[in-house]
Symmetry: C2
Subunit: 614 residues, 2 copies
């Protein structure tokens, strides 16, 4: 292929690049697999006695130092050698139609991304999906890759029993002390985890979603009929992953929908998810009643060939559940759910997504597109949480999970939504039971409806809790939820809020190495290493800027006090002085620091005079 | 008294006033008590079929329409007639000393607030504290006042059993369907709730803190040695309560500390809390080793006469616990705790706060200053959560609670801090057990340490959870925590985040009327009443501004779509269409809406053809 990029303002020229402050990208190559390079971010620590801190890094090559980005070329196809070894065949693929881009006029048409190549497709007789390989007992490169990613910081755990190395309450999850490729394979084979990885998304850096792995975060991007452009959308993807999104859903509903998706996928190192019914609806002029299997099927193939890694399919919105929503305060709030409900009710007919589910599976298996079985009947308000419509649909999703597995597909399940705190846990328990432990992927949930403008927070609370209870991936909510389209700042705020929720969940579940970063931060705090505190945090720039607002001088970045208390009054300083003082009294500081806890026990036992002057 | 205000730039000229957008202040006067006016905020609803929405309102007279504020006169002393009936005697009071204001030079001295009057004090032979009245079976005006405040929206509950009117999980709390003054009295008498109300804070609008009442929020203000002025501090108080703070702690450690506090209290409708050891330390030049009982006692009397409503007293930091902190990652992070630890260890002596606790009680009882027994050994990091030092101190606080009750004082207990999610619940359980159900008042807790700049969120997660489990008041954390002093925006963000946490907790506990506001919001959402959505929320201005960013036109405020999906694609619009369509089919919309759920059951039972064309 040798497509010349047609330069115009419609093409994204550049995106945000370069390392996060105080850190750099590093890659680890397992000696046995020279064509696997696992990315991490290494944060500088100013204390020479401490090691640099490695953290999980989903940001892709964009955070390399001095990276030259050419979006028209796309990212390097790191999966190419792996997929070549599996022997898929390339073919001409479906011809792009005008309707794929919403019938946009020539002057407003975003050109196709020149990095496009002919699509691959799997055959019936060969293993295609990660699920099929796993069931056959075969470990793929993707499985090895994610094992190394997940293992970060756990080297020290080798040979230890889990209960000795981490405390936590995992609610029955089977978190291992050390993640082996075989463990990854087994989890995928059991349907408890997925690696969303379309064989046409060769640029992908594989990641895993499952209850026994680190909790992941999804961010949503996408233009709408009201606003947005291709440049914005590609940058939103890059910006999302810079701050920690593990997957990105493209929820575009406007013009140029096909070609914008091209640019996003060719430049995305993370899995891209979509809701194909959105584009199908565009193709029929926005009228749900004009939807049919043919246009939907054509859209699935179109997007699968492009390399979309997971599809939200609202096949659980069955005719029988629709009347259950009539008395709800907020009815049906899922766009896909309401489209299908209208379709079903208008013709008194069963959903074609449900009736054609076998055929959908066959298409998705061919490219290893993972299912994200949509919760089209999720509650849209506290009042509607956990009702019969929601839980009825969940049962159907469990039934469909088994069908998809039978067909060789990977599956996760979408969940709510709006749920008060005391009703969150039963959502997780019911999902595990009804859907056979396949990964749960929830939107929040929002724990109250009274704070528009702050729904990243109302939902961050619910997200942290449901993540702790077992949800494998959290779909972010931005401050603009219910009000408008998120801009750059909103996307960042949403992603960081959800990284907090995911990490709080990892800590509470007892992931063996989760606390390493908290501990590094705490040591930096106690030693007044301000630069380290900024850099260890999720957002070094904001932390530094906040510190500068009160104490702007560089000297304050090494000061042994902060603006809250000022130089005379710092509790940590006093504690340090206290340690020194205690040490001086006993004429041996080291002995004090190491022996204090023990001596304290003696002291308590004897009710006595520990600190007698010598 | 006839003090002429000495006008200078040191005096606060004005503060933020006026109603929140779309609402106004209303007062309710119980027919039997004409000198009680209970404040609420009434939010406009544009749908003529809906009632205006009343919400709890701690913002004081500042949010009245066309209020004229003269800070030098202070607020109206609404408790004056109540207190006069109790027959307290006024006296000259302690003479203000130079050291009370940090020995500031004349040109920088903030003048005393002209609204000051002679202090009242209680006598040994008369009831002074709310606890004493409650134990004697007497209902005070303050108790009647808070009963009406707490009862908002519960009128419809009269005569209903709680389990019928609210679902929730209260973890053993005894939340009543309807709050009577007698219930309030009983809760105070049992030590399960407090009304912080110094008899010298007559401007106070009483509020109650207890597990069986709505969860409250505290905000912190206060200057430091590094920065801040009196004008800023008074405005921070007014600004905090505007957005929903129920109490305010003045944590000043800088100059003019006495006179700034004057201005704050004379103009505060909410309880003001302080940490007297901070000022005592200032008086001895900042050296903890120079502290003694005399300077501390003098400070207690000074602040009690001014009208401080609750004191944080770190009397649980006993000598024996100090060595338990030596191996911690972050040592002692409470300022009060570290001061006392140093004092204890340096002289190998028991804390004078512990040893003189009886005398502290006698002083605090005299003015009805409530105890907030400080957690000087709270953890400062995830690594240090729930350790022996923290829980040892908690046991001592339980012991001191009984002493304070014996002396007639009201008591609450401060709690952590930094705690991962799985270790939060045991904090609440242990506090209830060790401290005899006296109210818990926690700082967050932060559920991870890795997000400086976002600690309102890391802690908002923990605050919502511990509030649900039973914490009565949540001390806010702002985005500047660990980094710098909060400015106006940070204070607002902190307060609103904590209002979200408190409300999420109220919902989950099953407070009977808590969901009314969520439901009003949800109905506004489903009817596309955009103005109502903004105004019902915690922050109408931000919600409106966010909506304007994408759809600025006034017409869009009545549009039946939003920017997320655009006009063609709205799920709520589709649901509404769906309802109409279903109705048309059955030729009777009302029958459909009311009968749908039932018909759905029939449909499910019969596996049948519900929507057969007629």
């Amino acid at each position: 292929m040798n497509i010349q990029p047609k330069r115009s303002s419609l093409i994204p020229e550049t995106v945000t690049t370069g390392p996060l402050t105080g850190s750099r990208k590093v890659y680890y190559t397992p000696p046995s697999h020279p064509d696997i390079q696992v990315p991490f971010r290494e944060i500088d620590i100013t204390d020479p006695n401490e090691e640099k801190l490695r953290v999980y890094d989903a940001s892709g090559p964009y955070t390399e130092t001095d990276i030259g980005v050419d979006l028209s070329k796309g990212l390097k196809k790191i999966r190419k050698p792996w997929l070549e070894r599996r022997g898929f065949s390339a073919y001409a693929g479906r011809t792009v139609k005008d309707e794929d881009n919403g019938g946009v006029t020539e002057d407003k048409l975003v050109p196709a991304c020149p990095a496009n190549t002919q699509p691959l497709s799997g055959e019936a007789a060969k293993y295609v999906t990660q699920y099929e390989f796993a069931r056959a007992g075969l470990i793929t490169e993707e499985m090895i890759y994610v094992a190394h990613r997940e293992n970060l910081g756990r080297e020290r755990m080798l040979g230890c029993a889990l209960e000795k190395i981490a405390d936590g309450e995992s609610f029955g999850a089977d978190i291992p002390a050390f993640v082996t490729p075989e463990f990854v394979r087994d989890e995928i084979a059991r349907g408890r985890a997925i690696i969303p990885a379309n064989i046409n998304h060769q640029e992908l850096e594989p990641m895993i979603i499952g209850r026994n792995f680190l909790v992941k975060v999804n961010s949503n991007i996408g233009n709408s009929a009201v606003t947005s452009s291709v440049a914005e959308e590609v940058e939103k993807m890059v910006w999302s992953i810079r701050w920690g999104a593990d997957t990105v859903m493209d929820l575009s509903t406007g013009r140029n929908i096909h070609n914008i998706r091209d640019w996003i996928i060719r430049n995305s190192p993370v899995p891209i998810g979509t809701v194909p019914i959105y584009q199908a609806l565009e193709k029929v002029g926005g009228d749900p009643l004009k939807l049919d299997w043919e246009v939907f099927k054509d859209t699935l193939i179109e997007q699968a060939e492009q390399g979309v890694d997971y599809f939200t399919i609202h096949a659980g919105v069955r005719l029988k559940y629709v009347p259950l929503t009539a008395k709800r305060v907020t009815g049906i709030v899922s766009r896909g759910g309401s489209i299908m409900a209208r379709w079903c009710l208008a013709g008194h007919r069963e959903s074609f997504l449900y009736e054609r589910f076998d055929e959908i599976c066959d298409i998705m298996r061919k490219y290893d597109v993972s299912f994200s079985l949509g919760d089209g009947l999720r509650p849209g308000s506290i009042a509607d949480a956990n009702d019969a419509a929601q839980f009825g649909e969940l049962e159907t999703l469990g039934e469909l999970t088994k069908v998809a597995w039978e067909k060789g597909c990977q599956v996760m399940i979408e969940g709510p939504g709006h749920v008060p705190m005391h009703k969150i846990k039963v959502n997780m328990e019911k999902q595990l039971k009804e859907c056979h432990e396949t990964p749960f992927y929830t939107l929040g949930p929002l724990t109250t409806d009274i704070a528009p403008g702050y729904d990243h927070i109302t939902s961050g609370i619910g997200a942290a809790m449901i993540g702790w209870f077992g949800t494998a991936m959290l779909c972010y909510v931005t401050p603009k939820e219910h009000l408008g389209l998120p801009d750059r700042d909103d996307v960042k705020t949403g992603v960081i809020t959800y990284r907090i929720a995911a990490h709080a969940a990892d800590l509470a579940k007892g992931h063996p190495a989760a606390q390493l970063r908290d501990d590094a931060m705490s040591r930096a705090r106690f030693s007044f290493r301000w630069e380290d505190q900024f850099n260890i945090g999720l957002d070094p720039d904001t932390a530094r800027a906040y510190h500068d607002e009160t104490l702007p001088k560089d000297a304050h970045k090494v000061a042994h006090f902060c603006s809250m208390c000022g130089p005379k009054f710092c509790s940590m300083k006093i504690t340090q002085d206290l340690r020194v003082e205690a040490a001086a009294m006993l004429e041996n500081e080291k002995a004090v620091l190491e022996g204090m806890a023990e001596k304290s026990r003696e002291f308590l036992d004897q009710g006595g005079q520990l600190y007698v002057k010598q």
